[in-house]
Amino acid sequence: MSRGGAAAHPSAPTVAKVRMRFAKRGRARFSSHRDVARAMEWALRRAGVPVSLSHGFSPHPRLSWIGAAPTGAASEAEFVEIGLTRDLEPSTLAREVDAVLPEGLSVLDVVRAGPGALADRIDTSVWRIAMPGVEPQALVEAVAALEAAPVVEVERMTKNGPRTLDVRAALVRVDVMPPLDDRHPNDARSADDASGDDGRPAGDLLGGASDGAPEVSDLRDRPHGSACGTLSAVVRHTTPAVRPDDVVSALRTVAGLEPPVPVLATRTAQGRLGASAELLDPLEEDRATTGREPHPERHVGEDRPV
């Protein structure tokens, strides 16, 4: 009889691992980590990717998630490591999975995993926080007040009740970005770069400059003529994590800044903070050890802008 740990067909061993960077955009940003994880598991099955299974009474696919963006926040830099029972071309896997993901989720980069843990290469995020209805000048002043304060404590409700965290301690730097209209439409990333010289992870496999396009439309769909102060915040990963909402709370605390409508936060990068406050692409090391993939073709703007 076959059941429990003694399955008739033991799980095939994990012979290869890939690491994937993917985006959560548009309306998909309202999904929680659990929602994204389920959607990814089903997409991998639809795509026919041979994900390896854990052993034991209730086998589950071997996916390791790292630092998920909170519900309501968009991201251009979510990471997952996937165990495979067969070695696959990362670019093929990227294309096949991207084709069957639900609207709003997009594969940006896949590499074969090299030695070392991915989690060890990620300790910092760059967040872009757009605040419709907030005058850029008011934001500049609030950010200055935030930078000047040695400690800025905010309270957040967690499952275990209210917790107080120091936002200032986690902030590496904050910059107010120039108004969107002053930038070239295809140049949304330049503002990210300003935040930390090189906030953009190097070697985008799939996205290139097109990654920013849906985010731009996120902002541009809002009523014209209204101000939209936007900041870029480099935030160290602490426990509990300082989220974009906490940064906004901190601005409220130090400067009474009160966004009239909910802010739109997008994680633009994750990685390790380098010696000169630049963010290092966590997949770069894998590319260096497992070899660089050729850049495949990709259609721009496959996701319907919302």
């Binding site: 389920r38 997409a43 990717v49 519900t71």
Partner: protein, 675 residues
């Protein structure tokens, strides 16, 4: 149709831009954003007839609903129609929508519901009626059908609860009786023609009344007698037939839906690929409305089942398959289906399950086949009645010996838990009948310990309160009062725990009897009950299927305010037994069952006489087949499940992987070395 909704060149403006800023402020916002895999968005102007399909409960319950998913696909395949979906929004968002003037919307293209031609609402349970009013109000559609104009959607009710739509007769324009696959097309044809001809609302409704299976409540008048009972229900125009007969989809293999199941981002109650393996049931359990109103049995062929499973898994990525029906182990080819699917999906991380009401060894064999390589947690059996006498009353024939032998087999084969389903408050039931559930549970644990050779076996007893339903032999029965049910269940708990050693391995789950009494009011109510529903909604009542929102006091008070004017009350509709000649509110709606046969079956129930299953034994003249021009359709079907090349793995499965999908782009494997 609506002139009220803001439009641009006749195309209603989506509400997304106004909804989006509200979403960060509500719980689980992802349920409102749509964008499900396999959802369809058709340009408004490409369709003549626009359907909003509504499940009047939360998204997490409504999204997986098979009926809605089937009609969504069937309608969207028509070149002249589009269908979008809308669900009940939770009170946190409803309050913000009212504050900011955002109307009820569809999740597909976030269009205002009021702009659609038809608002089709599927009622699986009567407890969704207050949500109907909430949805209409949020949509800006007048609550009363009589107040609507040509500018408003036609509000259509369907689903099992629609077999007695009288309590919501004032709020709906149309009711569709029976299977929906074909009638939605007929309605689309009539609405398209009515729009083209510029017919007004009344003329459109009169024409729709001529569609088989469509009931237009507004074209009928109800007369009441001195004693409060109905004297007559009569059409007020020649356009409306005296009786409306249900629709029956005859060949399920012609309707292999859903082909592309919706896969949500949000968490829902059933995350699996569901295939309806047959419709109808002939077991004849007297309490079961679904079994009575969906006759005759129509099986999907084993080939049809296997094709739907294969296609559905590829389209959805789900890792669970549910083989659905009212009693799936009764499919005449279920053994072959189970073996075929278990062979095909072994080692692909795909779980198979089916609901079954059988209590016999075959059920265990079947479950064993389906869980061949997976986990075995719990196995469910439904004896329904605690004593053998009561099981004869409800026509659920299983002896205690049979049950014990069956569960012993289950424990022997590795199941750790057995779940037993019962009802409380059945006709003729006494305390003694219910207390026998305790004896049975003890016996099950004793037998389980012996069979499993260990002490930690578990039996869970789950109990639902019985609600008499229209179109069943129990439609004349008195419903048990909540305190009778609650008292019996308290005594049952004491009896289970009277033996501490056995009792600690028995879990007891039940709900109190009050919501069931209200379900009873709504199930067998007439048009006067509509006043109560509206009063409850105006008093803040909604989401009545959720214990945290349901208020018995609110219903009781509304009934006490609204009903005495008509000389009736809550008890008159619920705990009162009806006599043979009383006009029942649904007598003019024909489910195919012969009223005389139902009455005789009710008398047999009172005499504890059982009735055989006509699938295997000669016809017992319930009336459905001759009345509806239908017949039982069962196997053998002869054809193989799926062409062998497609169905069988090309290489023997030696080890498990995580997907049944073979993607040629990925099947070659990677080159050994990097470029």
């Amino acid at each position: 149709m609506s002139l009220d909704a803001p439009t641009r060149g006749g195309v209603p403006e989506p509400v997304w831009d106004r909804l989006e800023p509200l979403l960060p402020r509500v719980r689980k916002p992802v349920q409102y954003v749509g964008g499900e895999r396999n959802a369809t968005v058709t340009p408004w102007e490409d369709a003549q007839v626009h359907w909003a399909l509504c499940y009047p409960d939360a998204y997490e319950v409504g999204l997986p609903n098979q009926g809605l998913m089937i009609l969504y696909e069937v309608l969207n395949e028509r070149p002249d129609a589009l269908a979008e979906r809308t669900y009940a929004v939770w009170p946190d968002l409803a309050a913000l929508m009212r504050e900011h003037g955002v109307p009820q919307f569809t999740v597909d293209a976030h269009r205002p519901v009021a702009a659609f031609d038809v608002l089709g609402v599927s009622f699986a349970t009567e407890l969704g009626y207050t949500n109907l009013l909430e949805i209409l109000d949020l949509a800006g559609v007048p609550l009363h059908a009589a107040d609507r104009t040509t500018a408003h959607p036609l509000v259509l009710a369907g689903g099992h609860a629609a077999f007695n739509p009288e309590p919501i007769a004032d709020f709906v324009d149309l009711v569709a009786l029976g299977d929906g696959e074909e009638v939605v097309g007929d309605i689309t044809d009539v609405v398209a023609a009515a729009k083209a001809e510029g017919l007004d609302r009344r003329a459109t409704l009169e024409r729709l009344a001529g569609v088989p299976g469509v009931y237009v409540p507004g074209l009928y008048a109800v007369d009441y007698a001195e004693d409060g009972a109905i004297a007559a229900v009569r059409p007020t125009t020649d356009a409306a037939p005296a009786r409306v007969h249900k629709r029956t989809t005859s060949d399920l293999d012609d309707w292999p839906y859903p082909k592309q199941p919706l896969v949500p981002m949000a968490e829902t109650v059933h995350e699996r690929m569901s295939v309806e393996i047959f419709r109808g049931c002939t077991r004849g359990c007297r309490f079961c409305q679904a079994g009575m109103i969906t006759r005759p049995v129509r099986e999907r062929s084993k080939r049809g089942v296997s094709e739907m499973v294969e296609q559905g898994l590829a389209a959805s990525g789900y890792s669970e398959v549910g083989l659905l029906s009212l009693s799936s182990a009764d499919h005449s080819e279920i053994g072959e289906i189970a073996k075929g699917l278990a062979d095909r999906y072994e080692g692909t991380g795909t779980g198979l399950s089916l609901p079954s009401t059988r209590v016999d060894a075959f059920n265990v064999d079947l479950a064993e086949e389906l869980t061949r390589s997976g986990r075995r947690s719990g196995l469910t059996f439904a004896p329904e009645g605690g004593s053998e006498r009561l099981r004869r009353v409800i026509n659920k024939m299983v002896s205690e010996e049979e049950l014990i032998a069956t569960v012993s087999t289950a424990y022997e084969h590795g199941w750790r838990q057995v779940k037993l389903y019962f009802m409380c408050g059945l006709p003729t039931e006494t305390d003694e009948d219910v207390l026998q559930i305790a004896t049975m549970a003890h016996e099950v644990v004793r037998a389980g310990r012996k069979a499993a050779g260990r002490g930690d076996v578990r039996a869970t007893v789950s109990i639902g309160a019985f609600v008499p339903k229209p179109h069943t032999p129990f439609q004349w029965a008195a419903q048990a009062a909540p305190d009778v049910v609650d008292t019996r269940l308290r005594k049952l708990r004491e009896a289970i725990n009277s033996d501490r050693s056995l009792g600690r391995n028995v879990g007891l789950r039940y709900h109190d009897g009050q919501p069931s009494l209200i379900e009873g009011l709504l199930s067998r109510g007439d048009r006067r009950v509509g006043r109560v529903i509206e009063a409850v909604w105006r008093d803040g009542g909604h989401f009545d299927g959720w214990s945290e929102y349901f208020s018995f006091e609110r219903w009781e008070q509304a009934a006490a305010r609204e009903l005495p004017a008509y000389g009736v009350d809550l008890a008159w509709f619920t705990t009162r037994e009806r006599d043979e000649h009383e006009v029942l509110p649904w007598d003019h709606l024909d489910s195919g069952l012969d009223r005389g046969w139902l009455w005789d079956d009710w008398q047999d129930a009172l005499d504890s006489r059982e009735q055989d299953d006509c699938r295997w034994t000669p016809c017992f003249d319930c009336g459905v087949c001759p009345q509806m021009g239908t017949e039982i359709q069962i196997g053998p079907t002869g054809e193989d499940m799926v062409a062998a090349g497609r169905m069988l793995p090309l290489t023997p499965v030696e080890s498990r992987t995580s997907t049944p999908v073979r993607n040629p782009a990925l099947s070659g494997g990677a080159a050994g070395s990097d470029p």
